[in-house]
């Protein structure tokens, strides 16, 4: 039964998801292209709508998708999440974050089609940008009311990989609260290196925001990374071992 469901998920729901991304982009592109005022904001809103569509497809492909949200503070935040599947990129939309700037690895900016969307939305290439420029770009994004999204593990290879402290250093420097997000189940639905979309239980959990001031000292950002990784991964492990 699981095999039939995997075939259905991959060819019908996966196909529908790809078609949704392609058709919505073709239809929206002329309007976004012609928009002269706040084009980047419009593209981010468009990506949010696209992401909601993908989360809907994930719901159809899953054996259940739960979203556990929390109150967010006023103003911009840094959102950090664990990362074990390509699907993770879309899940932030499930919490209603509609105006976000992603900081991602350089290779994503080389993907045909995606790179135009990412550049237009003002997303930041982590590998091409120096730390000083990164801070500057993030300050500009925050001035536009954006939230900053990072996956501190950097890659999908090891679901329990260390959280690098860059995201937390950024939050410390910008004086922004950090919202931890746990993504459980996507690594079973679409693991790294696989094209098969398996049925799996997905749980998306947003925790209360944490302030960098709670982690004082020269290594505050490093200790914040460790504490938030523990909070997120404890939840993920508990959910995935149910």
């Amino acid at each position: 039964m699981t095999r039939v469901r995997t075939w259905f998920n991959t060819f019908f729901i996966g196909g529908a998801a790809v078609a949704w991304l392609a058709v919505s982009t073709v239809l929206a592109a002329p309007f976004l292209w012609l928009k002269s005022h706040e084009k980047d904001k419009a593209v981010r809103k468009f990506v949010y709508i696209q992401s909601l569509g993908i989360v809907f497809c994930m719901r159809l492909a899953s054996t259940g998708l739960r979203v556990k949200t929390a109150n967010r503070p006023d103003g911009s935040c840094v959102i950090v999440a664990n990362h074990a599947s390509a699907l993770d990129l879309y899940t932030v939309s499930a919490f209603g974050f509609s105006n976000v700037v992603y900081i991602t690895k350089g290779w994503v900016f080389k993907l045909p089609f995606f790179r135009y969307v990412m550049q237009s939305a003002g997303y930041i290439d982590a590998q091409k940008t120096s730390p000083a420029d990164m801070l500057d770009l993030c300050r500009k994004a925050v001035a536009k009311g954006c939230d900053i999204v990072l996956f501190p593990q950097g890659s999908r290879k090891d679901p329990h990989a260390r959280f690098k402290s860059g995201a937390f250093y950024l939050a410390e420097q910008l004086g922004l609260p950090v919202i931890p997000v746990a993504i459980a189940g996507t690594q079973h639905m679409l693991p790294a290196g696989s094209w098969w979309i398996r049925p799996a239980q997905i749980t998306l959990k947003m925790f209360e925001a944490v302030h960098p001031q709670n982690f004082p000292g020269e290594l505050g950002h490093l200790h914040m990374a460790q504490a938030l990784k523990k909070q997120i991964m404890d939840f993920v492990d508990k959910e995935e071992n149910l």
Partner: protein
């Protein structure tokens, strides 16, 4: 004076605690950037961690670009420890 074995042990203990490395990863030939995936911010953090561990100032003579492997880091700390002892 602190021995090289003690330097290796204390360095590895500090790196395991703060950067979640395992014993298997912390071999002397491990490359800081390519094998341990330490980025520029990690390098700065590592200096602070090691300063706290050894109670000496490392940051003035420290340059990640000149240190390729973990062994280079041990050498650097050993050299500092010798200079400190004199």
């Amino acid at each position: 004076m602190i021995t090289r074995e003690e330097i290796i042990k204390r360095t590895n203990d500090a790196l395991k605690k703060e950067f979640e490395f395992t014993d298997a990863q912390l071999v002397p030939t491990a490359q800081l950037k390519d094998d341990l995936c330490l980025d520029s911010l990690d390098a700065v953090d590592m200096v602070v961690v090691l300063e706290q561990q050894f109670g000496v100032t490392l940051r003035q003579g420290y340059d990640l670009r000149t240190m390729v492997t973990l062994n280079d880091l041990y050498d650097f700390i050993e050299k500092l420890a010798r200079a400190h002892h004199k």
